[in-house]
């Protein structure tokens, strides 16, 4: 009760300080008045009474102060007084305030924005209960790289592995929903029954998948995302048990996932169904294709290591019940990864580098503001001496100066948060499309707390350093006007700060320079085809009319024919694997066996490209040997043709002609293909990844029909403009088939470097900021030192130094600082560039060209920053300066 009164009274005093002060004053006056009256009543003359009262009661001002200082609110009041004073001081020098606040806002804003982007990826665990127990399991490729698993391996582990609570496989699925509204294609996942148990998230509505349903010919069931449920079914709770139509089939809705469920593994997934593979594992079926992602949830209390050991033991101990075909022998063992790494591993180096870069920017911003405050501190030594002479102790002065730093930081922080808001949006727009958990990027509580901590830290830092420096000012010297240049200490501090600033800027510049060089080199890489004027799009088949392979072949052939007839199309073809399309995630990688290899187990991984004749001509892939595909390479032809890529041929057939040799793609029961030609290497996965081994076969001769193909169209003019016409041509054959992922090949080439570009753009921005801030720092320090040295300069020129010599003197000072900073920065960059290694391409992290270039740039900018103060110094009129003191 009284606590409440304490609080409200205290607040009301704070709110109505003047009124409260008047009340106290009135009460004290009344008290004294009464005391005087009382003494008069006892017979003293008014004059004596007043004096006696004064003697007895003490100083009325002190009394008022004593009464006034009662209450908790007064502790705040002192702080607020400091704050008010600090605010008044900032208002009085708006230029200084603006520069300080803006600099800090830039630093805090950039750091906060980057932190908000990086936080869900690098620091937060995935949004699943005990996410650290969810592991990814991969087959290990011959080169040790992770390869997607087969359903057969999954079945074996499901029975044999003991380390896991639940284990599941999945592959992506793009069903088309038809029904009342217009047909719509969704991203989804085909999963085995325990998928949601691995993630640890049960549906919010309905029930989880029933393992009994996960078999060949089992009932078709679907799980919906909360978003899909709200959008297409108006959040109707009666949806569970109802039937929806996907890809011409009726699916019973099993349940709806919770609103908060984030599908991290397949970010766009809206609908899930059971995989329903054949558990009898027929040899040669899809059950033995390497195309599934496996995830497993560790048993509680079990470490990753025991699980890894168990999987390794299982891989090397095949048992009779689970016979393995040669390509799924698990001879290299199994690979266990943390799912967090699987999801975020690709972008982690870029994000860490960017986070490091932005921290450097923040540091530079702090150094700059500290420098500004130091410079002001020097100018204020007179004021501070005065305050200290009036009785303010050193702690009181420090508190005042720190409050000023805090105020500056808080203003900067508030503005910085606003900048961060914009920055986050720009960041998401700029981010590479493969940036995981992009939806989780936002300014949330964690980010706010982060910004607050950073801001407060900065405030204390930038306030405390100048406070400690300045408050040491000697009282007498401070008050004597003539000695205002005695503060040699703070000059040293300012110089040290500038050196630090230049060093930090150099580290950033080196990073930006290395990335820039990498980007140049990357885009100088030829992808192996001519991307200009080529449009690409994915055409899919769905529905029972394409259950028959012949129908699928026919549809694609007719669609291609229609596209070729479209005006503006110079050439067109299709392929099952499009270079740089981003889906080269090993699902198109197959084992290849060459007939001339003795050892039947000798297999090579290569991209399988089932293409139409004309594919090489359309993309401009050069023929090196033999012939390209033509209209004779049809299903019933006597030779099953194949082409292989150049370096693959060189490696497998050194000094021989590969044409006429035979190879087999995939399972051992497949027929042999005869190599009819060799074509140039094509970068399939990305410009930077050197994996290029490819085998091309005519789609018509493929043992199975690909249900999804990429159409590539070479345009006579603008490729993108052809999009509607080409789509119409495809739909003229069958209007229900989805056409997706439309892009020009130029755009695909660009986006294959998106992650590096993301890092590069940010680094460039940060490095530029750092450079400008460092230049401002140098300028500021030199201006200050020229002002302080006016007398010395005057003496020098009076003694005959020319303007040029004075100019050189000041520039030498500035460049000395810059040079020292550059030397320190060089050492820093040599160490820090390690963090960039994985982002670099074709350039060493110690690339001398970059380092030299960056140092030259930095020194040039420093020289520019020196110029203005040096010029001013050289114009110093000796007669005026000498008289000034």
């Amino acid at each position: 009760m009284s606590l409440w009164r304490q609080l409200t009274r205290g607040l009301s005093v704070l709110a109505h300080r003047d009124e409260a002060d008047r009340d106290v004053a009135d009460e004290c006056d009344h008290f004294l008045e009464q005391a005087v009256a009382d003494l008069e009543a006892r017979g003293l003359s008014p004059e004596e009474a007043r004096r006696a009262a004064r003697r007895e009661l003490g100083n009325p001002v002190a009394l008022r102060e004593e009464v006034r200082s009662y209450g908790w609110e007064n502790a705040f009041a002192a702080f607020f007084a400091d704050l008010r004073y600090a605010a008044r001081r900032l208002r009085r020098s708006p230029g200084f305030a603006a520069i300080g606040v803006l600099t800090l806002a830039l630093g805090v804003g950039a750091t906060t924005a980057i932190f908000s982007a990086v936080n869900p990826i690098l620091f937060e665990s995935l949004p699943y209960p005990h996410a650290e127990r969810i592991l990814g399991i991969w087959d290990r490729g011959s080169d040790g790289s992770p390869v997607t698993v087969t359903f057969g391996t999954f079945r074996e582990l499901l029975t044999r592995a003991r380390s896991f609570e639940a284990i599941a496989v999945w592959k992506s699925w793009q069903p088309t929903m038809t029904g009342a509204a217009e047909p719509e294609r969704f991203d989804g996942q085909m999963v085995s029954a325990a998928y949601f148990r691995v993630l640890g998230v049960p549906p919010a509505l309905g029930r989880d998948f029933d393992p009994a349903d996960d078999r060949l010919g089992g009932p078709r069931v679907a799980m919906l995302s909360d978003r899909l449920w709200r959008r297409r079914f108006a959040a109707d709770p009666a949806i569970v048990g109802r039937q929806i139509k996907l890809d011409d089939d009726l699916y019973t809705v099993a349940g709806v996932m919770p609103k908060a469920f984030e599908s991290v593994l397949a970010p766009a997934a809206q609908v899930w169904t059971l995989m329903q593979y054949d558990t009898s594992l027929p040899p040669g079926g899809r059950e033995w294709g390497h195309h599934l992602r496996m995830v497993a949830r560790l048993r509680a209390g079990l470490g990753v290591e025991p699980a890894r050991r168990e999987l390794d033991a299982l891989a090397h101990a095949p048992i009779h019940e689970f016979s393995r075909p040669p390509w799924a022998k698990l001879a290299q063992g199994l690979l266990v990864t943390s799912i967090q790494d699987d999801v975020t591993g690709g972008v982690r180096p870029a994000l860490l580098a960017v986070l490091g870069a932005v921290t450097l920017v923040l540091l530079i911003a702090c150094v700059n503001v500290t420098n500004l405050l130091l410079a002001r501190g020097a100018a204020r030594s007179g004021e501070l001496s005065m305050r200290s002479a009036l009785g303010a102790g050193r702690p009181r002065l420090i508190r005042q100066l720190v409050t000023e730093g805090l105020l500056l930081a808080l203003l900067g922080g508030a503005l910085g948060m606003a900048l961060a808001q914009l920055g986050v949006r720009a960041l998401v727009a700029l981010s590479p499309s493969e940036l995981p958990r992009a939806d989780a990027i936002r300014l949330d509580g964690a980010v706010f707390v982060f910004a607050l901590i950073v801001t407060t830290g900065i405030g204390l830092l930038v306030g405390l350093i100048p406070a400690l420096q300045t408050s040491r000012v000697d009282l007498h010297q401070g008050l004597r006007q003539g000695s205002r240049r005695t503060a040699g200490g703070h000059r040293r501090a300012r110089r040290a700060l500038v050196v630090a600033e230049v060093a930090l800027a150099l580290v950033l510049l080196v990073g930006a320079g290395l990335l820039l060089r990498s980007m140049r080199l990357l885009f100088a890489v030829t992808p192996g085809f001519n991307p200009s004027h080529v449009l690409a799009m994915q055409v899919q088949t769905y529905g029972h009319r394409y259950d028959d392979a012949g129908a699928t072949h026919r549809f694609f052939a007719q669609a291609l024919e229609a596209v070729r007839r479209t005006p503006g199309v110079a050439a067109a073809a299709f392929t099952s694997q499009l270079p740089l399309s981003g889906d080269a995630d090993f699902s198109n990688v197959y084992g290849v066996r060459f007939e001339h290899d003795r050892d039947p187990a000798d297999e090579h991984d290569a991209f399988r490209c089932a293409v139409s004749p004309g594919y090489f001509e359309t993309l401009g892939i050069p023929l090196r040997r033999g012939r390209l595909l033509d209209e004779h390479d049809v299903a019933g032809a006597s030779t099953q043709a194949a082409l292989i890529s150049e370096s693959f041929a060189r490696r497998k057939f050194p000094g021989q002609d590969p044409v006429g040799q035979r190879l087999r793609l995939g399972a051992s029961d497949r027929s042999w293909n005869t190599i009819v030609g060799v074509v140039g290497d094509v970068k399939q996965a990305s410009l930077a990844v050197s994996r290029v081994d490819s085998v091309y076969i005519p789609a018509e001769q493929s043992p199975w029909a690909d249900g999804t193909l990429w159409f590539v169209v070479r345009a006579q003019g603008d490729a993108a403009a052809l999009t509607p016409a080409v789509k119409r041509a495809v739909w003229s054959v069958d209007k229900d088939q989805p056409v997706v992922h439309v892009a020009t090949m130029d755009a695909l080439v660009e986006s294959s470097a998106a992650e590096r570009r993301f890092a590069l753009v940010l680094f460039e921005a940060f490095a530029l900021t750092a450079l400008v801030l460092a230049a401002i720092g140098i300028y500021g320090v030199l201006s200050g030192s020229v002002n302080e040295q006016t007398r010395e300069i005057g003496v020098r020129s009076a003694l005959g130094a020319t303007a040029g010599e004075i100019l050189a003197l000041v520039v030498r000072q500035g460049l000395g600082l810059a040079g020292l900073g550059a030397a320190l920065g060089l050492a820093g960059a040599l160490i820090a560039s390690q963090a960039l290694t994985s982002l670099l391409f074709g350039v060493s992290r110690l690339d001398p060209v970059t380092y030299l270039g960056v140092i030259a740039l930095l020194l040039a900018v420093s020289a520019l920053a020196c110029w203005a103060p040096a010029w001013r110094a050289s114009r110093v009129e000796p007669s005026i300066t000498l008289r000034a003191d």
């Binding site: 009760m1 009284s2 009164r5 304490q6 009274r9 009340d23 106290v24 009135d26 009460e27 004290c28 006056d29 009344h30 008290f31 008045e33 009464q34 005391a35 009382d38 007895e56 009661l57 003490g58 002190a62 009394l63 004593e66 009464v67 009662y70 209450g71």
Partner: protein, 111 residues
């Protein structure tokens, strides 16, 4: 100012104020004078301590205050005991009596 009068014993000021106000509402100087008079000059009240204590007691909810106009049209702050203040006075008086009795017994035993 005789040497024999003492400052109010630490901790008893609150009780003396409450007791004084239990007779009638009063302003600050009135309280001080009354304490001195009734204690026959034994207790001298420091005005700073008194006015601060009044604020404290008011915030504790034991006193109410109102501003009145004086004859020479100045403002005077009058304090009045609240019901909670009355209860508090009883508690403090009882506590004081208990202690005083204990001290008295000790002194007697000593003698």
């Amino acid at each position: 100012m005789e040497d024999s009068n003492t400052d109010v014993i630490q901790g008893t000021l609150d009780m003396l104020i409450l007791k004084t106000l239990s007779l009638e509402p009063m302003h600050g100087f009135g309280i001080a004078r009354r304490v001195e008079q009734i204690s026959r000059g034994v207790f001298k009240v420091n005005p700073g301590s008194l006015l601060t204590a009044l604020q404290r007691l008011e915030r504790a909810g034991w006193l109410d205050s109102e501003w009145r106009q004086t004859e020479n049209s100045r403002r005077a702050k009058y304090y009045r005991l609240t019901r909670a203040g009355t209860r508090q006075l009883e508690i403090e008086a009882a506590e004081w009596n208990r202690r005083a009795a204990a001290v008295a017994r000790l002194l007697k035993a000593e003698a």
